[in-house]
């Protein structure tokens, strides 16, 4: 019987690798089989702002004690000679899509998972891929030859197991691991639950409330118990603990309409005043609706999330409307209502605004009290200007105030410099 082997390729320290590989003074010394042939280099955000954290570090930088999410100041205390590079997000995204294109050329199925990870799949046994380990090594080599970037590959009989095999590949000399159904008991279930990808805070809950130590311990718990504690996630966790996962590879995943869109911003300082928070909410909402309009969609569930000062606590709440819209003016009062209902007055460090339950935009929401067609025309014109001349080419007057973040945000991708 022919089966499919799923693989996950994960680029090593991706942003830092892009920097090393694109600078001749480092690239020429770089070797695929020797992490120490890299300089001690980090990619870090602007040190003057809260975004001044380490986004990526080469293995030699990590050996000096530097880790991602550490502040640049902390990293420089540990390693004063560290080479610090400002992020170039556009460049990393360009490299990322090209690596995925290469994977697409080598395997029948491919799906990008994140900026530095991609799933692939191939039939096995098959004449084209007689040796899965060799196929993975060829992929690694092709990525190295074209991009000078190291990667590790995990393979198994489903996406979840491939993801976990990929983690295991970290410690293997050749950075390639292939797990079969026979490896569930010995290799997956013996891992600590804190090694289980995707659990996040649930790992701590499982440990503290159910005395779970290993992934195998979860499998021993009754499904109803895990489901009762974590809802739909409980079922996923339980399935994963036994090596089951039904996720298919969808090569067209990114060409399908959005199901929801959100924008998040970490603020440069704690915001205390409602008036200041309102400005950022409006800017984020403008961005969300701009993207929803660009995709020719409308949504009817609007959400607001906040992370409080020192990243301690916060909330995320959403409201479902009676109608679909892509109009900031219609959504803004709803988001402010969420703010007033759920914000406890704490200082705010990060804000997220979302719009989901999206559907194709085919109709116009008419109201007796405003001039919807006229306003739609105005919004369309502003969208066109922004598309042509950039996000900050037309902005609201409030964005020019102290609270406004739009100008700074427009210079960044994902919160980091373009």
């Amino acid at each position: 019987m022919m089966n499919w082997i799923y693989g996950l390729a994960d680029m090593q320290s991706f942003y830092a690798s892009c920097e090393v590989a694109s600078r001749p003074e480092f690239a020429l010394k770089r070797r695929e089989d020797d992490d120490n042939s890299d300089p001690a280099l980090v990619v870090a955000g602007d040190p003057k702002r809260r975004t001044g954290i380490i986004l990526a570090a080469t293995p030699p930088a990590k050996h000096l004690g530097v880790s991602t999410a550490m502040t640049l100041g902390e990293a420089l205390q540990l390693a004063p000679d560290l080479i610090v590079v400002r992020p170039r997000m556009e460049f990393y995204l360009q490299v990322s899509v090209r690596i995925q294109l290469l994977m697409k050329q080598l395997f029948p199925l491919q799906e990008q998972f994140s900026v530095d990870e991609g799933f692939f799949a191939f039939p096995w046994p098959s004449d084209l891929f007689p040796d899965p380990i060799q196929a993975a090594k060829e992929l690694k080599q092709a990525i190295w030859d074209q991009f000078h970037i190291r990667c590790r590959v995990g393979m198994s009989y489903n996406k979840w197991m491939a993801k976990m095999a990929n983690k295991a590949a970290k410690t293997m000399p050749e950075r390639v691991v292939w797990w079969t159904e026979n490896d569930v008991t010995e290799k997956l279930q013996t891992l600590s639950i804190f090694e289980m990808w995707g659990l996040k805070k649930r790992a701590r809950v499982l440990h503290d409330e159910f005395q779970v130590e290993t992934i195998g311990d979860i499998a021993k718990l009754p499904l109803s118990l895990v489901r009762h504690r974590f809802g739909v996630w409980g079922e996923v966790i339980h399935r994963w603990s036994t090596g089951h996962d039904a996720s298919a590879i969808n090569p067209d995943a990114y060409h399908q309409p959005h199901k929801g869109l959100s924008h998040r911003m970490t603020l440069p300082r704690d915001y205390e005043e409602r008036e200041e928070i309102k400005v950022v909410i409006l800017e984020l909402l403008d961005e969300v609706t701009f993207r929803v309009r660009a995709a020719d969609q409308k949504g009817r569930r609007v959400g607001l999330g906040m992370t409080y000062g020192s990243f301690s606590g916060g909330f995320y709440r959403a409201k479902t409307l009676d109608y679909y819209t892509q109009d900031t003016y219609a959504l803004y009062p709803e988001v402010l209502a969420l703010l007033d209902k759920y914000w406890n007055g704490s200082s705010v460090r990060a804000i997220v605004v979302s719009l989901d339950m999206l559907q194709p935009a085919t109709s116009l929401q008419l109201s007796f009290f405003d001039h919807a067609p006229k306003r739609e025309q105005l919004i369309h014109t502003v969208d066109q200007l922004r598309l042509r001349f950039g996000e900050a080419s037309v902005m609201r007057a409030v964005s020019l105030g102290r609270a406004g973040q739009l100008r700074d945000r427009s210079r960044k991708i994902g919160g980091h410099y373009r």
Binding site: L93, S96, S247, Y254
Partner: protein, 106 residues
Amino acid sequence: MNIADGNIFEAMRLVLPEHRELMGELGRLTKNRQRPELADDEVAEFEYLWGEAWMGQGELEVTLFQSGDEHTICGIPLSYQPPLRLQSEHGCIMIALQDIIHVKRL
């Protein structure tokens, strides 16, 4: 998230809008491939290989660019002047000269 759909990884991924746009852009570019421009010496080399195979009943691998995609055919040339014909394992195939982008001796 709908577990019945088996789309857990799709539901969990975080993709920057700029990244998604770039993927779409590259996808469109790769789909709308243009026919490669051939240098004069490449054309001369293909002509030579074709003629040689026609004279000596040699087998060629011919790469054609049709509808934005590449196709490869193997066979023995049956004619030297257009219309070009190739005897392949699937029978006699007519080849438009402007579709040829590569010729290789087998």
